[in-house]
């Protein structure tokens, strides 16, 4: 399918779900790209994965009760994140064990709940792998408003997040409330995941959070640049992914994630300073001795 045809489909009133899907995919990727920078820099990918699974029971409850998926997911995700933060204060257990206990438990809860709903196999598939159809208008608005609030919160808390990420001990010494900042970051990650989960799916959403930020990290050594590059990579990955998925009738979540993974690979090979190929090119090593 050519790009012109894709644009025609986007404006076709019979295919109204398509521009909605595009909008929500781009918004999700941008928000996840920004928040994902903290996730990547603090080595929190496992927490991101945990939260992504933990929103599932909330989605299931909301689905069974016909409520708002965004609200249901956010409540479950935040609850799990707070539980992890509280239980991780116990020094006898490391944080990853606590996460391992809670996220699988809440995912299990979600499966039990959703099995009570009629026609559950189809909806389970939708939750796990994403779907571009059937996004209600109000979810679009909720996602847009939440996304803007979330970016505002990041702007407000950025200096504090950086201080804590660099050196927790100093952050405490200068009077920052490290525990609450951790909770705030978990909540932001949860919210970013919840607004993304519908299009991209519960299992694949981690890629929106981690892959663009990881690619951006390879491309720059400056935090500001990284936090602009990651949402840019995520957003364009979403557009290209949706286009390919629509053209070739591929699952949308999977396609977007594969596009992002390709960008990551390219960055790993060709990043201006630290790329594998770039380095090799600049300094011909033992394999390619200079002749003459």
């Amino acid at each position: 399918m050519s790009i012109a045809e894709f644009l025609a489909d986007l404006t076709n009133p019979d295919l109204a779900f398509l521009p909605k899907a595009l909008l929500i995919a781009v918004m999700s990727s941008v928000v996840c790209g920004v928040v994902g920078c903290y996730v990547v820099l603090r080595g929190m990918a496992f927490i991101g994965d945990a939260v992504a699974h933990a929103v599932f029971p909330g989605l299931a409850v909301a689905f069974v009760l016909q409520g708002s998926l965004v609200v249901g997911g956010a409540v479950a995700g935040v609850l799990t994140a707070v539980l992890v933060a509280v239980f991780a204060q116990n020094r006898r257990l490391k944080e990853d064990s606590v996460i391992g206990v809670f996220y699988v438990a809440s995912f299990a809860l979600g499966i039990v709940i959703i099995s009570q709903a009629p026609g559950y196999a189809g909806s389970l598939q939708q939750f796990l792998f994403g779907s571009i159809t059937g996004i209600p208008d109000e979810d679009l608005y909720t996602a847009a408003i939440t996304g803007v609030l979330l970016l505002g919160a990041v702007l407000l808390l950025h200096q504090q997040f950086v201080t804590v990420s660099l050196d927790r001990e100093l952050a405490r010494a200068v009077g920052l409330r490290v525990f609450w900042l951790d909770i705030a970051l978990y909540v932001l990650v949860t919210v970013a995941i919840v607004i993304s989960v519908q299009t991209i799916g519960n299992i694949l959403v981690l890629a929106l959070l981690v892959t663009p930020a990881a690619a951006a990290r390879l491309l720059t050594d400056r935090l500001g640049a990284m936090m602009l590059l990651a949402p840019a990579i995520g957003g364009s990955g979403a557009v290209v992914g949706l286009y390919l998925s629509w053209s070739y009738d591929l699952p949308v979540g999977g396609t977007i994630v594969l596009v992002l993974a390709t960008v990551f690979l390219l960055a790993w090979l060709f990043a201006p300073c630290h790329g594998l190929v770039t380095k090799h090119w600049r300094r011909p090593g033992i394999e390619a001795p200079a002749t003459g």
């Binding site: 200096q159 950086v162 660099l166 927790r168 100093l170 010494a173 200068v174 009077g175």
Partner: protein, 247 residues
């Protein structure tokens, strides 16, 4: 009155008394070396001065008032391994994080903040590297960044935790010179160190710590082996005491 006064501080961690009845006062202009064996409670003492550890008894006064994070003019240099050196951040932005407590949620760094950061970076001799990513710096340069970050608060008390660990001798020497200057300019500097010889040579005062203060005097008055034997739990034939005799 000393700018930093620790009065009768006792600290328990997990049911064990880690520090007992600590009295210590540091004046402006002094570089005090806090020396003791592993597990003597050196870092815990620094952390209780900062208010990061709950004190079971006693109090810490800065300028005659109880210590308060954000308000008290105390700069802290934690150990170098606490810092995430792979973080993509420039020297000047890393130093700015020292002022995060002052900035709060709603204020972005302003002219006064950047001036304080610039002066601190110049003060530790890192002016030319201000925009360099921290990951590209050597061990000694990294230590300077941490000191600049503490100075960004324009503190009158400076606490350094093992600033020499993992650094080669010439670097240690340069840093010792810097710390001495920082003290002489009118700050009270308290540093924990494993480098006994260096501390005896440069510190204006030595406090020997092993759960409690064993001795506290200028180096020239600490030539008697007895307090060293008590602080480190060693016998008269210990190589440690031989070094002291040579000094």
């Amino acid at each position: 009155m000393s700018v930093l006064e620790v009065r009768g501080v006792t600290v328990g961690l997990g049911g064990r008394t880690v520090l007992r009845d600590i009295d210590l006062a540091v004046d402006l202009g002094e570089l005090t070396g806090l020396i003791g064996p592993n597990g003597a409670g050196k870092t815990t003492l620094l952390r209780s001065i900062l208010g990061l550890v709950r004190v079971a008894a006693g109090q810490v006064l800065v300028d005659g008032r109880p210590i308060r994070p954000r308000r008290s003019p105390v700069g802290y240099v934690p150990q170098r391994h606490e810092f995430a050196w792979d973080f993509p951040i420039s020297v000047e932005n890393a130093v700015m994080t020292g002022r995060s407590g002052l900035l709060g949620l709603f204020r972005r760094p302003g002219v006064a903040d950047w001036r304080a950061v610039g002066e601190s970076i110049e003060r530790v001799g890192m002016g030319e590297l201000a925009r360099r990513p921290v990951g590209e710096l050597s061990g000694g340069q990294r230590q300077r960044v941490l000191v600049a970050r503490a100075l960004a608060l324009q503190p009158r008390v400076l606490l350094l935790d093992e600033p020499f660990t993992g650094l080669d001798l010439p670097t240690q020497e340069l840093l010792t010179g810097l710390f001495l200057e920082l003290a002489r300019e009118g700050r009270a500097v308290l540093m924990t160190t494993h480098d006994l010889v260096g501390a005896l040579d440069t510190c204006t005062r030595i406090a020997l710590l092993n759960r409690t203060i064993v001795a506290d005097a200028p180096p020239s008055e600490l030539l008697d082996p007895e307090p060293w034997m008590r602080a480190f739990g060693v016998s008269e034939t210990s190589p440690l005491l031989k070094i002291l005799k040579v000094m």
